[in-house]
């Protein structure tokens, strides 16, 4: 029982990352009809926003300490972050410590900006082109973006820790009446789960309760009709692209402490997020979220020893197996609409 609760927690946590990425992806599908292979790269850039901010906060001045030596035997160069000098070592240290949460604020304008530039500069010209062309151009863009990140940050993962206060694990077991140490879960992953729930809720509320959102939803349902009403849907779609980019970016920022960011993390998530979106049904926002959590939970269950001993290698293929089964039983995924991306 405790093992199952643990895996459900795990699944929800994994699922929240899948859901966030898939949400943005399906927003772009639904509104713009564009297959965006660069969406994983946006997630990656988000994570690197966190890396960048913590690097900026750690920009240091150098003093030479003649009493110590570096590996070549030269006097050691000691680095002190400017924030330590400016705000005092204590507050400075906690600023650096809280770099990842702070990056949320830092990343939103950056991601929206990147989204605007992408949409206006490139994607806009591909609305009427074939999906194949969209795939090629966005894939090319994804490569360019990740190679640029690699050029500046290297290929090695960059450890980016959560604030000290949020490290460690919470003992759910005691909470639920099990023995201590049976169901423990890291604080930061709980934060991630609630954060993504917040973001997902925010996006839905935005689409549900604002006029802007209503127009966009109408546009998703039938672009032509909305266009006939004389509403400038294009500008709203640009904004939607920015929002989708920001959602992917936020997913990335908060993911940084879970796994050290590296330049190809976007590609690692790309295929998976496409599977999630398609399983959820093209163009369906609730579908993407539901599929994200579903696949996350199933993936976690498949990695349990009991399951693996029955079906060796099941965790290698579970996602794809589930995708096949769902697509064969439900033609348009969990909640897909007819006619979207079917030709």
């Amino acid at each position: 029982m405790d093992a199952i609760i643990l895996q459900i927690l795990n699944g929800l946590d994994k699922g929240s990352a899948y859901a966030l990425i898939a949400l943005g992806l399906t927003l772009i599908f639904g509104t713009l009809g564009v297959v965006n292979f660069a969406h994983g790269a946006l997630f990656m850039i988000g994570a690197f926003c966190a890396v960048t901010l913590s690097k900026i906060l750690s920009i240091s001045f150098e003093t030479i300490d003649p009493t110590q030596q570096d590996f070549l035997g030269n006097p050691l160069v000691v680095k002190t972050p400017y924030v330590h000098a400016w705000f005092g070592p204590e507050f400075g240290a906690s600023l650096i410590d809280w770099a990842v949460p702070l990056s949320i604020l830092f990343s939103i304008p950056i991601m929206i900006g990147i989204g605007f530039i992408m949409e206006r500069g490139l994607i806009k010209h591909f609305y009427k082109r074939e999906h194949a062309d969209q795939i090629l151009v966005t894939f090319g863009l994804a490569i360019v973006l990740q190679e640029l990140v690699k050029y500046f940050f290297g290929a090695n993962p960059i450890p980016t820790g959560a604030p000290d206060a949020l490290t460690g694990a919470f003992d759910f077991g005691v909470f639920l009446g099990f023995d201590a140490n049976t169901v423990i879960y890291p604080y930061w992953r709980l934060v991630y789960f609630f954060f993504s729930a917040l973001v997902i809720g925010g996006v839905f509320a935005f689409l549900q309760f604002t006029t802007f959102g209503m127009v966009v939803r109408a546009g998703m349902a039938d672009r032509e009709t909305v266009g006939l009403l004389g509403i400038n849907i294009d500008r709203r779609f640009t904004i939607m692209f920015g929002i989708a980019a920001a959602v992917a970016g936020l997913a990335g920022v908060m993911y940084a402490p879970i796994n050290s960011p590296n330049y190809h993390m976007g590609m690692d998530f790309l295929v998976l997020s496409f599977v999630v979106v398609v399983v959820g049904g093209m163009g369906s926002l609730p579908g993407a979220v539901a599929a994200g959590f579903l696949l996350g939970v199933l993936e976690s269950f498949a990695s349990m020893n009991e399951v693996k001993s029955l079906l060796p290698g099941i965790d290698q293929i579970i996602i794809y197996l589930v995708a096949i089964i769902i697509l064969l039983t439900r033609p348009r995924g969990l909640m897909g609409r007819k006619g979207v991306m079917e030709e």
Binding site: L76, G168, H264
Partner: protein
């Protein structure tokens, strides 16, 4: 196969002569010309450095490439000579190899067997290299080693840790300086039993492919021999990025040690996840919970950051060693690149020097002569102490380092500390050991190509 000719150099010279007069076509068919593949005839000789330049191991590849460039410099007599000054063999005079200046070409393995073979083939066929060195995974090493065997040139493996490289997949034309999973286990086990006691229950997470399996097998055997119990071994997909669902059940299993048979990105993530779950803060069976990462590298340590503190592992070499060879190499490397070399860089550096030295001692670039010179070669002064290139399986035998994540690093490179130098005797095994293909494993015969 034996008739193949890839005699670019030989042809060139003749071609140049013909070109000077009228453009007379000269046709070479198979089995004419040279005595062996890519026999150098001009004033230069080409080495091929095949390292991952794209993909997750690109940084490791870059570091290998730095070391290889440095080695070429030293062989050609430029720079400060590095470890050539401390190397026990004095056959290299700093004037290239056998009077020929060394040039090199580079390629990208992408850490994929196919891509690695493609780039190695292009070096052999197009650039006419006599030796290929580099790489950072066992799959690639075995694939390229097989290719070099077929083509008739020497392969000096880079980072490859699987037992198979010099075990069941050993080849007469291939040589490995790097240590292997068995050695890691043999070196780690005594230290672990000393630190953590002999009554421990270990839970293994193992990358689900050949290298992971051989390492898990080696570690389990060595730790069980000293009294540990292996509670469970869970295979994890190579593509996994989030290991939480594999880590979560560990605490409930009654295990008090977690062994992570992962490398590279897998290891960085699994260790980070394990720390997130607070495993090392727990007390199980009345003992402090511990994590072991049998194979360490500097880049992984950097990627895992603070999570690595206090975690034990093993390495082939480390820049903090204080022997003369290490000091000379680190000085030379540090001056040129402003950072200490990684252990895969050191292996590539040593392998390049060892190859050049063997050529000089053999007096020929013929791979069979070079192989003969390397087989049973005993040397010192390259950083690992006295070392033997065993003739039976082309594996180097030398001390192995047991490392621990440093608690208070003083700078960004100071992430690991050397806990113990396990003497070579403790890590030596028989060439027909069961984990190394048993009695059936054979090098085959040396292939000189043409």
């Amino acid at each position: 196969m034996s008739k193949t000719t890839m005699t670019r150099r030989g042809v060139l010279k003749t071609g140049a002569v013909a070109g000077a007069g009228v453009a007379l076509p000269t046709i070479f068919t198979a089995s004419s010309a040279a005595a062996y593949t890519n026999e150098p005839t001009g004033s230069t000789v080409k080495f091929g450095f095949n390292v991952p330049q794209t993909g997750p191991y690109a940084d490791e590849g870059m570091d290998e490439l730095r070391a290889q460039e440095l080695a070429v410099e030293h062989i050609n007599g430029m720079g400060d000579g590095g470890a050539l000054n401390t190397f026990s063999s004095k056959a290299l005079g700093g004037d290239g190899v056998l009077g020929k200046k060394v040039e090199f070409v580079t390629g990208d393995t992408q850490t994929k067997s196919d891509a690695a073979r493609a780039s190695a083939k292009s070096m052999i066929e197009k650039d006419g290299v006599v030796m290929i060195n580099g790489g950072s995974s066992s799959g690639v090493a075995v694939a390229v080693q097989g290719l070099c065997q077929e083509a008739g040139i020497i392969f000096m493996a880079g980072l490859t840790h699987s037992n198979d490289t010099t075990g069941k997949d050993r080849k007469a034309n291939g040589f490995r300086h790097f240590f292997n999973a068995y050695m890691s286990a043999a070196a780690l086990a005594p230290v672990l039993s000393k630190e953590y006691g002999t009554d421990r229950r270990a839970y293994h997470l193992t990358a689900d492919y050949t290298w992971g399996w051989t390492q898990q097998e080696s570690i389990a055997a060595a730790t069980e021999a000293m009294g540990w119990e292996t509670v469970n071994n869970v295979l994890t997909p190579l593509a996994a990025t989030d290991f939480s669902s594999y880590i979560a059940p560990v605490l409930n299993s009654g295990a008090d040690v977690l062994v992570l048979n992962h490398y590279g990105g897998n290891m960085v993530n699994s260790l980070t996840n394990a720390i997130q779950f607070g495993l090392r803060d727990k007390v199980v069976n009345g003992k402090q919970f511990e994590i072991v990462v049998p194979l360490y590298s500097e880049l992984m340590a950097a990627g895992a950051g603070e999570n690595i503190k206090g975690v034990y592992g093993s390495m082939n070499w480390n820049w903090q060693l204080q022997d003369e060879g290490t000091k000379a190499f680190v000085q030379s490397f540090g001056k040129k690149y402003g950072r200490p070399p990684s252990n895969s860089a050191q292996t590539c550096y040593a392998q390049t020097l060892l190859y050049a030295d063997a050529v000089a001692r053999a007096g020929s670039f013929n791979p069979c002569a070079v192989a003969e010179a390397l087989e049973g070669f005993e040397f010192d002064g390259l950083g690992n102490g006295p070392t033997l290139y065993r003739a039976d399986d082309h594996q180097c035998f030398k001390d192995v380092l047991v490392m621990k994540g440093r608690d208070n690093p003083t700078n960004e490179y100071d992430t690991l500390e050397v806990v113990e130098k396990t003497p070579v005797d403790q890590v030596t095994y028989a060439a027909d050991h069961a984990m190394f293909g048993g009695a059936e494993a054979s090098l085959g015969t040396c292939n000189p190509g043409a």
